[in-house]
């Protein structure tokens, strides 16, 4: 059902508006069809005890299908010469250069811990997009993770996935905070 970018255009266009419209409308139709399919499986009629589980979703799915068919029709009827560009090659490269690392980042959170993954992610961004010096990158990336570690592990006590290293840092910081508390209280009591 999908339609590739029409050939013959300039190489800078990655996807035309019309193709994108058609693609998304078709996707909506498929999703609607899945909803209808599953609702039929569950039963979308009336049972003795009232509406079955698929009663409401069935019509939802049906409306998605109808609406996406209209959208598909509108997209197909759009004139080719008034066609706008959905995304250019340069733009899609930029978007993918962020999206792919984000996916890698999400994949790394579990195995190496959220704080370490965040250091790598921020560092990659600053190096690749900003071309910063390494010492600046290290300062911002590590500082950022330390900041969130203090906020989540110490202050709000919400555990995030973390490695042994982050665990050790959190424990140390907790110990320092506990050690400082009597001193702070003593200073405050003077006033």
């Amino acid at each position: 059902m999908s339609e590739g970018p029409p050939g013959g255009g300039s190489g800078r266009v990655a996807l035309r508006q019309k193709s994108a419209e058609i693609l998304v409308a078709a996707l909506f139709f498929c999703l609607g069809a899945v909803v209808v399919y599953d609702s039929v499986r569950l039963g979308f009629r009336w049972a003795d005890d009232g509406p079955q589980a698929g009663y409401f979703p069935f019509y939802i799915g049906l409306v998605i299908c109808i609406a996406s068919l209209v959208n598909l029709g509108v997209a197909l009827a759009a004139r080719q010469d008034r066609d706008k560009v959905f995304v250019q090659v340069g733009q899609i490269k930029l978007v993918l250069a962020v999206l792919v690392p984000t996916a890698v980042y999400a994949a790394l959170i579990k195995p190496i811990g959220l704080y370490e993954a965040s250091v790598l992610f921020v560092a990659y961004f600053m190096r690749w997009l900003g071309k910063y010096a390494w010492w600046k990158i290290a300062a911002v990336a590590v500082g950022n993770s330390l900041f969130f570690l203090v906020i989540f592990e110490l202050w709000f006590q919400i555990p995030l996935p973390k490695s042994a290293v982050a665990e050790w840092v959190a424990a140390t910081l907790r110990w320092v905070a506990a050690a400082l508390r009597p001193i702070v209280n003593a200073v405050l009591s003077v006033f």
Binding site: I60, I64, V95, T102, I109, M126
Partner: protein
């Protein structure tokens, strides 16, 4: 004057040191969220919601939690104006109309006047909306106590039909996006029969899609991807705001009292009927231009062109909380997230709140008065600071925002699957935004889907499957008729303009 008594009690609650501190924290966080690309009212509140889980369990904690979150919302509303005026970048969709005259004013060396006008009219709009809430919401709540399932379903119907009738986006795209939201809400265990719907054998989908994840992905990640593609340079004037400029602008503002009142009315109406802040600001800008003596000079840096959209946007944003607390039907995506918060804290939004949770409701309403005063003080004094945030290069701020989004998504259920879903929703948000599929009705549908379905099923059970129950009495009948009128509004206006053109 029972309301005033309850309100006075609310002020006592809201004026505790803890709540005042939370108020200022919320406002400052909110302005920062409003200024940053990729973070806005809705997903900012969504990300910070898990932090309030612990807070809400203390006695009186739910009031503190809602004060914090609603103040983030006010802050975000204020913050949107800063970027529009100084950088010509609307930080929030509802401040797009503020750029029309705000940015030219800044270019002409009058950023101080524009900012003061924007903040002050935001404050005025919010104040009028809160007064409306104070006196109207107890009445609406009392009225709504009589509602049965058919009435509730017709209110939901009205909410969603209003989106189709009033949005700028093509109606069938609005419909498709909205229904996708309903479908996502239906995923998981059916609350009535216990059957598993659309889980296709995976355990991850047993509890369905959480709207918080959808909000963080659609609005957060999607927005970052869009910003990235549009280029990364921020060019803009510096902010100078001193007392003299503020006082001089204040002297000039009363001249525009009629514009303010008109915009407040438009804003309150659009906020209560879920049109939302964004159309309200555009509509009010258009109305002001038509009624103004020098309407043709709009767009060249008229102070009136800043007053009108800002008043309306803030009035609408505030008024959107009225249906949220009285009926449990939010008027905007951010109000929807706040409603989700109420549900998570164990409160049942709806008319019973006014009976069972008096302290919560009136504490919240009192905090709206105080929060907006606090907001005005904070933004007037700290503008240079907030503007400086925008000078942090995008390559530094973008990954940090992404990390914040990821943490926010993870902490909702402590699940990695949610982080993945956030990325998927982010891509969807990027594509939908580019193709004009509106996100607000989709988010509202995810939040309200289960409740709307429950109301529908109960109504159908009561009438044994007869749809005419939606017209069974005057109240439900008029609600349903109004909903249908709004649903077919695009068609009606099309036919109407054809007839007019034919006769002309």
């Amino acid at each position: 004057m029972e309301e005033l008594q309850s309100l006075a009690h609310g002020f006592v609650i809201a004026l505790s040191w803890k709540n005042l501190a939370l108020m200022f924290t919320g406002i400052i966080l909110g302005v920062i969220i409003g200024v940053l690309p990729g973070l806005g009212g809705a997903n900012g509140v969504a990300i910070l919601l898990p932090l309030t889980f612990g807070m809400a369990q203390l006695p009186g904690g739910t009031t503190s939690a809602i004060i914090l979150l609603s103040c983030i919302y006010w802050g975000a509303l204020f913050g949107g104006a800063i970027t529009s005026i100084l950088f010509n970048i609307p930080g929030e969709p509802w401040s797009v109309a503020t750029t029309f005259d705000g940015y030219p004013m800044a270019q002409q060396g009058k950023p101080g006047e524009a900012l003061t006008a924007a903040f002050t009219s935001s404050f005025v709009g919010a104040l009028i909306a809160v007064i409306v809430i104070t006196f109207l919401s107890p009445i609406v709540a009392r009225f709504a106590l009589e509602f049965g399932p058919p009435e509730y379903f017709s209110v939901y119907l009205l909410t969603f039909c209003a989106f189709i009738g009033m949005s700028k986006e093509p109606p069938f795209k609005t419909l498709a996006a909205m229904m996708l939201g309903f479908a996502l809400a239906a995923v998981g265990t059916d609350p009535v029969t216990g059957a598993l719907r659309m889980t296709f054998g995976t355990t991850h989908l047993l509890t369905g899609f959480d709207f918080l994840i959808a909000v963080i992905g659609l609005f957060g990640i999607g927005e970052i991807l869009l910003t990235l593609e549009e280029g990364l340079a921020f060019k803009g004037g510096r902010a100078r705001l001193n007392l003299k400029v503020v006082l001089e602008t204040w002297k000039e503002l009363p001249k525009y009292w009629l514009t303010s009142i008109r915009s407040s009315v438009v804003g309150c109406f659009m906020g209560i009927v879920p049109g939302g802040a964004t159309p309200a600001s555009f509509m009010s800008y258009g109305v002001a231009r038509r009624f103004s003596k020098d309407g043709d000079k709009f767009g060249t840096g008229k102070i009136e062109g800043v007053v009108a959209p800002e008043t309306a946007a803030h009035a609408a944003g505030t008024a959107a909380l009225l249906p949220m607390i009285t009926l449990g039907v939010p008027g905007s995506p951010t109000a929807a997230v706040l409603l989700g918060g109420l549900l998570i804290w164990g409160l049942q939004p709806g008319p019973l709140l006014f009976v069972e949770q008096k302290e919560f409701v009136w504490g919240l309403i009192a905090s709206m008065y105080l929060g907006n005063i606090a907001g005005l003080i904070v933004v007037l004094t700290c503008v240079p600071l907030f503007a400086a945030i925008l000078r942090v290069p995008f390559s530094v701020i973008a990954p940090i925002i992404m990390v914040i989004c990821a943490i926010g998504a993870y902490t909702v259920h402590n699940s990695m699957f949610d982080v993945w879903m956030m990325v998927v929703f982010g891509v969807a948000g990027y594509v939908f935004k580019k193709l004009q599929y509106p996100l607000a009705p989709m988010v509202l549908a995810i939040v309200l889907g289960d409740r709307a379905e429950a109301a529908f099923r109960q109504a159908m059970l009561g009438s044994a499957g007869d749809l005419s129950v939606l017209f069974s009495n005057a109240l439900v009948g008029s609600l349903t008729s109004l909903a249908l009128l709004l649903l077919f509004w695009p068609l009606i206006s099309l036919v109407w303009s054809r007839i007019r053109r034919a006769s002309a």
